[in-house]
């Protein structure tokens, strides 16, 4: 099973400098957090999806579709009760609440999608190199990229462990949500222990390959800005600036 998010393809998105792509993520976050207007958020989502589509990485969204749906679902359920409003539909549920929940759901989902597009189109080494070029110390950048790298390892280990416990007769599929949750708790122990053992070897292997030999190091990968980078940067900055301007002047 392939656990890594990065999709190795040759598109303009993959060739973009990691710093450019980080800027796009940042801009998405700014705009998404700034507005609570459905139209604006839908436009933003459309832009981000097009951006991802051009990079041929949207297939990765399938892998997190459950998370995306859950967020939308819970947001709608939660806010339909909590928000209040004039149009009461049933009990505490209001139409305004449902719409607001939908907006919040989109807001979070678009941020996740934007992050996902970044991780699907950028090699981990590029991320850390990008961070280094942004003056983040190499050790810090490496630690950050290692955290991303650990996710697939944890998923893989927990998959094996779940199978091992199922084989022993642990019934993980039936029961209510709470019951299921309780059944998963014992699985945390072998998962954590395996990961700690693994990371220990990882640390030893790092040192044994000369990690931290000197403060500076060569970078085999080359990154740099291209005309596409400048285009994307200009567009991103323009959209963000216009959004801020609009927000300050209450245009939407």
């Amino acid at each position: 099973m392939d656990m890594f998010l990065y999709l190795d393809k040759d598109t303009f998105l993959h060739r973009l400098d990691p710093r450019t792509k980080l800027l796009v993520v940042l801009a998405t976050f700014i705009v998404a957090l700034m507005f609570d207007t459905l139209q604006v958020l839908l436009v933003l989502t459309a832009i981000i999806l097009t951006y991802g589509y051009m990079g041929k990485v949207l297939s990765n969204l399938k892998r997190i579709r459950v998370i995306l749906l859950m967020i939308a679902f819970f947001s709608i359920v939660l806010w339909s009760f909590a928000k209040g409003g004039d149009t009461r539909l049933l009990g505490l549920i209001t139409l305004e609440g449902i719409i607001y929940g939908f907006i919040i759901g989109i807001k979070f989902n678009v941020m996740i999608i934007s992050g996902m597009i970044f991780l699907s189109s950028t090699k981990i080494e590029e991320i850390s190199l990008g961070l280094v070029k942004l003056r983040v110390p190499y050790r810090g950048a490496f630690a950050f990229s290692t955290a991303i790298r650990l996710v697939p390892m944890i998923v893989g280990t927990s998959y094996t462990i779940t199978q091992a416990q199922k084989s022993r007769g642990l019934d993980l599929d039936s029961g209510t949500f709470i019951q299921k949750f309780k059944k998963y708790v014992p699985l945390l122990i072998p998962t954590l222990i395996s990961i700690i053992r693994g990371t220990n070897v990882f640390a030893m292997a790092l040192e044994s390959k000369g990690f931290g030999y000197d403060d500076s190091r060569t970078n085999y990968l080359e990154i740099g800005f291209d005309w596409t980078d400048y285009l994307v940067i200009v567009l991103t900055v323009a959209i963000t600036a216009f959004s801020i301007f609009a927000k300050l002047n209450h245009l939407f």
């Binding site: 990065y6 091992a164 014992p186 395996s194 693994g198 990882f202 030893m204 390959k209």
Partner: protein
């Protein structure tokens, strides 16, 4: 002033003086004690010894992981290329000595093969052009050309370990030390590593130190060091050391089978013992020995009787085909008929589909087409919980299975979730622990036990569910010879008590000495299936699937019969002058 008295041993690749180390959490004794060792430039050294002998500790001392990364009480000196390991950081030492670990999953971390190899040179500030050249050179050495852009996680085990070696080679250290690089590998993977080792050795500048379990491969080395209990107890040419059968037996390293056999049947002096099957064959004919036909017939007869005692068919696999959700076909047209009381070994390289096959037998996977019947019931119509009562599955890594605080709790888990009464649970735990020889360990914390013991706890926790069939995924991997033998004797006992056994394994002597039947899977197809003796007689065919029969089997095949163990061979030998 003490250093001034000893001549600084700069001329050797490695010089170790009075090295003693105790881990921080080690209560008594030392992991290694008073080690003195000199390794000259260009030597290929193999280090062997049982678990806990101190081999890995010694390896980690070489590049300063001990005491700079792993703490403890450290005495003595380690010089590597004229540098004192203790006084340098590990990353500084890495320029002189590269370390490859057993666990290949955890030592690879880059997005693709090229970047993995580039990581070391990058740290040493090698210019980019030079890194590019080195990548190409290394890819050629470790035979991974064409895999530049591949993600390490998508490579096979053998390829991963080869990449791990390559990533160390790229920094061009003078010394390479590999800590059990082949333990987790299938036969093809192992072969690939040994081939690289051999080629690297042709470079006279490079020092190669390999910690290894495989006795048969140690013959290639210039020098063989045997460790036990933290001491070096033997150091010499492999051909000499490997002839010391008694020594090997006493400390629990697998002795070469051919010299062992000749030692048993004759009084040839140690220096003259033949080592490999070819030499054994010559000696056998020269000594005018012969195989006793009557004895051989008796063995065949007793095997036939064993077969007649098998019960009904308990697992049946019919034209099984499995395609994974990503469209990859893992298994095609597999057929098996397993009768109660059988002992079946499933062989094949990593990714051949053998794990996919056994996961069908306990309902973890469902056939894409075809059927699997367990106890007469189609697995498609039952749940894994139901099948679990019939078929227990011990996973390869006991750490993936164990989670309780005490051994008792761990073993009691299965009967507990099956709703047994507390007396019944008590009885079953007792019975299971007795079976694996761990009585009195009830209150121990499983994680404080040794790997071999944890493996046995894992088996006990399956036994307590009282399944009729027990499947074990590589039950001997990562264990030393003594522990392997113990594990297999335990499994054999369970089999004799009526359990049906299915094991997946790479260890060929285990198959030849214990399994009744063998199924060989290659690229998703079952290419061979039959009695162990019959299958092991087809040595050439097995070689095509990269499986090498044990030396004694190979010797007997040259003599026209298939004999599975040294004991059998001794019993069948005729014409020995007493």
């Amino acid at each position: 002033m003490d250093i001034a008295e000893v001549k600084k041993p700069r001329s050797n690749a490695i010089s170790i003086r009075n090295l003693t180390f105790r881990y921080k959490d080690q209560k008594e004794g030392y992991a290694i004690e008073n080690i003195n060792l000199d390794i000259e430039n260009g030597q290929f050294v193999v280090i062997m010894g049982p678990s806990g002998a101190g081999k890995s500790t010694l390896a980690n001392c070489l590049n300063g992981l001990i005491p700079n990364f792993v703490r403890g009480k450290y005495q003595g000196e380690v010089w590597v290329n004229g540098k004192k390991a203790k006084e340098q950081t590990v990353s500084k030492m890495a320029k002189d000595i590269g370390l490859v670990f057993q666990d290949f999953e955890s030592q690879l971390f880059s997005t693709n093969t090229k970047l993995e190899i580039a990581f070391g040179p990058e740290n040493f500030m090698v210019p980019r052009d030079e890194i590019h050249k080195r990548i190409n050179k290394v890819l050629k050495i470790v035979n991974l050309e064409g895999y530049e852009e591949r993600q390490p996680s998508t490579l096979s085990g053998g390829q991963k370990q080869r990449l791990a070696i390559g990533s160390v080679l790229a920094s061009q250290p003078k010394i390479i030390c590999m800590d059990e690089p082949t333990t987790d590998l299938d036969p093809i993977g192992k072969l690939g590593i040994f081939k690289i080792a051999k080629e690297l050795h042709e470079d006279k500048e490079l020092n190669l130190i390999i910690i290894e379990h495989e006795t048969e491969e140690a013959l290639e080395a210039d020098r063989l060091i045997i460790m036990d209990n933290g001491h070096i107890i033997k150091d010499g040419k492999p051909e000499q050391v490997l002839r010391e059968i008694e020594l090997m037996d006493s400390i629990g390293i697998m002795a070469l089978q051919v010299p062992k056999y000749f030692k048993r049947i004759s009084s040839i002096v140690a220096e003259a013992l033949p080592l490999i099957p070819e030499e054994g064959f010559e000696r056998f004919t020269a000594m005018k020995l012969a195989l006793d036909k009557k004895k051989y017939e008796e063995i065949l007869q007793s095997e036939l009787e064993r077969e007649n005692k098998y019960g009904d068919i308990i697992i049946e696999v019919k034209d099984l085909e499995h395609t994974y959700p990503n469209g990859k076909k893992a298994l095609e047209g597999a057929c098996l008929k397993i009768r109660e009381g059988e002992f079946l070994a499933i062989l094949g390289h990593n990714g051949s589909g053998k794990t996919t096959l056994v996961k069908h037998l306990n309902g973890l996977l469902m056939p894409t087409t075809g059927n699997v019947y367990v106890g007469g019931k189609d697995t498609k119509n039952t749940t894994i919980f139901e099948i679990g009562k019939e078929v227990g599955f011990v996973f390869q890594n006991p750490d993936h299975q164990i989670f309780a605080d005490t051994v008792y709790e761990e073993v009691a888990f299965s009967p507990k979730i099956r709703g047994c009464s507390s007396e019944e649970i008590d009885r079953r735990v007792k019975e299971a622990l007795k079976a694996v020889d761990l009585e009195g360990y009830e209150k121990e914390d499983p994680f404080s036990l040794s790997k071999g013991e944890r493996q046995r706890v894992a088996v006990a926790s399956i036994l307590s569910a009282r399944p009729r069939v027990i499947m074990l995924d590589e039950p001997t991997t990562g264990l030393d010879f003594k522990e392997q033998k113990r594990m297999m004797e335990l499994i054999k006992k369970l089999n004799e008590e009526g359990n049906t056994i299915i094991i997946i394994t790479h260890t060929m002597w285990v198959v030849s000495e214990y399994a009744h039947k063998v199924a060989v899977v290659k690229d998703g197809e079952m290419v061979m299936y039959g009695n162990t003796r019959e299958i092991f007689g087809r040595e050439e065919e097995l070689l095509d699937t990269f499986l090498k029969v044990p030396h004694i089997v190979s010797l007997s095949n040259k003599l026209g019969k298939t004999i599975l163990s040294v004991e059998e061979m001794v019993a069948c030998t005729k014409g020995v002058k007493q």
